[in-house]
């Protein structure tokens, strides 16, 4: 067998070949040089899938919600690509990816493609290449791409820049009201899910989340340039109102509440479409991605252009308090270091 390059798979991926899709995703994850050309060739075929993010603390049932939601979307005639991200061990670089355990209902359905990803040390709840893998699934023609983040705490909010609709999954007993008003992950929710809603305390969780939403009710905001801009309602605002984050109760193991969740996604999508925010979100997401990639590339180039001795020398001078970190950066940038 001769070695095929990732570029050779582009046509097969566009034609719906699942093996080519899986192999191209591996190249993209590994950032092989040939994957860059393949991504460039696929890019004009992207932008059609609707990207939904699912995040939440470990143990809230994200994977089970993904399983049940995918089933519901399939019943509604949509094909679904799933990316499930789990953490890489910081010690060995290995990972155990166990999200498929909860997704057995999706086996044997060719309208579903599930891919597990290790985050490979990336912070923020996703792997560095998750966005590119989502694009490959988009180009392969899936109607919806569901991205499940690692079990996230309060700062893993990258998903909000990638997804058009972000679902935050909570469950009874995960924290008190103060957790609910802390900044962070709850603020990125377009839809809140209280999973395991048949358990004691579910109503308390719903109440705490509703109180949190009401606190922020008067100033809805939209994510822009990675910062929160406060959106002002126009005096002659069109028919749409500001998005009211719904709280959906589910028991994902029993497939209860999933129709309401799928409906909430449809409503949020319609809201984004009618308000023009979908285009704005896509633009803001791409801008943030460009900035992040540029940062990484410039850092790599700078490190490549300076000798290790130069960098060591600068670090040593900073450690010895002869040079402050700000001046060190300026010296490295203008080449005087």
């Amino acid at each position: 067998m001769t070695r095929r390059s990732a570029e050779d798979w582009v046509g097969d991926v566009l034609a719906g070949d699942r093996r080519a899709l899986a192999r191209l995703i591996t190249r993209v994850e590994n950032r092989t040089p040939d994957s860059h050309a393949a991504l460039a060739a696929l890019y004009p075929h992207t932008g059609r899938a609707y990207v939904v993010g699912i995040t939440g603390a470990p143990g809230t049932g994200k994977s089970t919600v993904v399983n049940a939601l995918t089933r519901t979307l399939r019943d509604r005639g949509q094909t679904v690509g799933v990316i499930a991200v789990d953490p890489t061990s910081p010690f060995s670089g290995g990972a155990v990816l166990g999200d498929r355990i909860r997704m057995v209902d999706l086996a044997g359905d060719r309208g579903v493609f599930i891919r597990s990803m290790a985050n490979r040390g990336s912070l923020g709840g996703l792997a560095a290449t998750t966005g590119d893998v989502a694009r490959v699934l988009d180009a392969a023609g899936f109607d919806v791409v569901l991205i499940e983040t690692v079990g996230a705490g309060q700062s893993e909010v990258d998903i909000a820049r990638m997804a058009y609709t972000t679902i935050v999954v909570d469950a009874p007993g995960m924290g008190d009201d103060v957790q609910a008003i802390k900044a962070g992950i709850l603020e990125i929710a377009d839809i809140l899910v209280v999973n395991k809603a048949d358990r004691p305390g579910a109503e308390n969780t719903v109440r705490a989340l509703r109180a949190m939403l009401e606190l922020g009710h008067r100033l809805r905001s939209s994510l822009h340039h990675g910062e929160l801009l406060l959106a002002q309602p126009e005096p002659d605002a069109p028919a749409y109102d500001f998005w009211q984050v719904p709280i959906v109760k589910t028991v994902a193991t029993e497939h209860t509440g999933l129709d309401a969740l799928a409906d909430a996604i449809t409503q949020h999508r319609a809201y984004l479409d009618e308000s023009g925010l979908l285009v704005e979100r896509q633009r803001a997401g791409l801008e943030a991605e460009l900035a992040a990639r540029l940062r990484e590339a410039l850092l790599a180039r700078l490190v490549h252009d300076r000798t290790p001795e130069t960098l060591e020398d600068v670090i040593a001078r900073v450690v010895a308090r002869q040079l402050d970190p700000g001046s060190a950066v300026r010296a490295l940038l203008d080449g005087s270091a």
């Binding site: 070695r3 092989t32 990816l97 490979r120």
Partner: protein, 138 residues
């Protein structure tokens, strides 16, 4: 920035519920720097091969303690070939009578690991098998 990882699917086909061995191996492979996709109990050969295809794994580890290996393993190979995945390395762990080990290897099983196997041996076997597979071709 290119970074290759060995990807391994650990699956338990058949109807027995003993997954401790599979979990120990999954953890050992993780600690050896591999990415392990763990699919859980009661997987059919169809589910295993579908997961192997989607996850683009280098290796499938089948843990079988039910005695049904001579029915399950041939079926896995049949499906792998049908999907064009004939180059995936297949390992079997669990309770396998000595008489069946040769038959499994005849089918294409790369190695059979019984109770008491040192996980380091499993790690070394996977590294060697993946290296010799990807050296001349892909």
């Amino acid at each position: 920035m290119s970074e290759q990882k060995i990807r391994v699917l650990i699956a338990k086909p058949g109807l027995d519920g003993h997954d401790r061995g599979a979990k120990v191996v999954a953890r050992a492979l993780r600690d050896a720097g591999m990415e392990v996709i763990y699919t859980g109990l009661r997987q059919t050969p169809e589910m295993i091969v579908e997961a192997a295809l989607q996850e683009d794994v280098d290796v499938i580890g089948l843990s079988i303690l039910s005695g049904a290996h001579m029915a399950l393993v041939p079926r896995v190979f049949e499906l792998l070939r049908a999907e064009g995945l004939g180059d995936v390395i297949v390992l079997v762990g669990g309770i396998i009578p000595d008489d069946d080990v040769a038959a499994l290897k005849e089918l294409g099983v790369s190695a059979v690991f019984g109770p008491g196997t040192n996980t380091e041996d499993t790690v070394a076997h996977i590294r060697n098998a993946v290296a010799s597979r990807s050296a001349p071709s892909s």
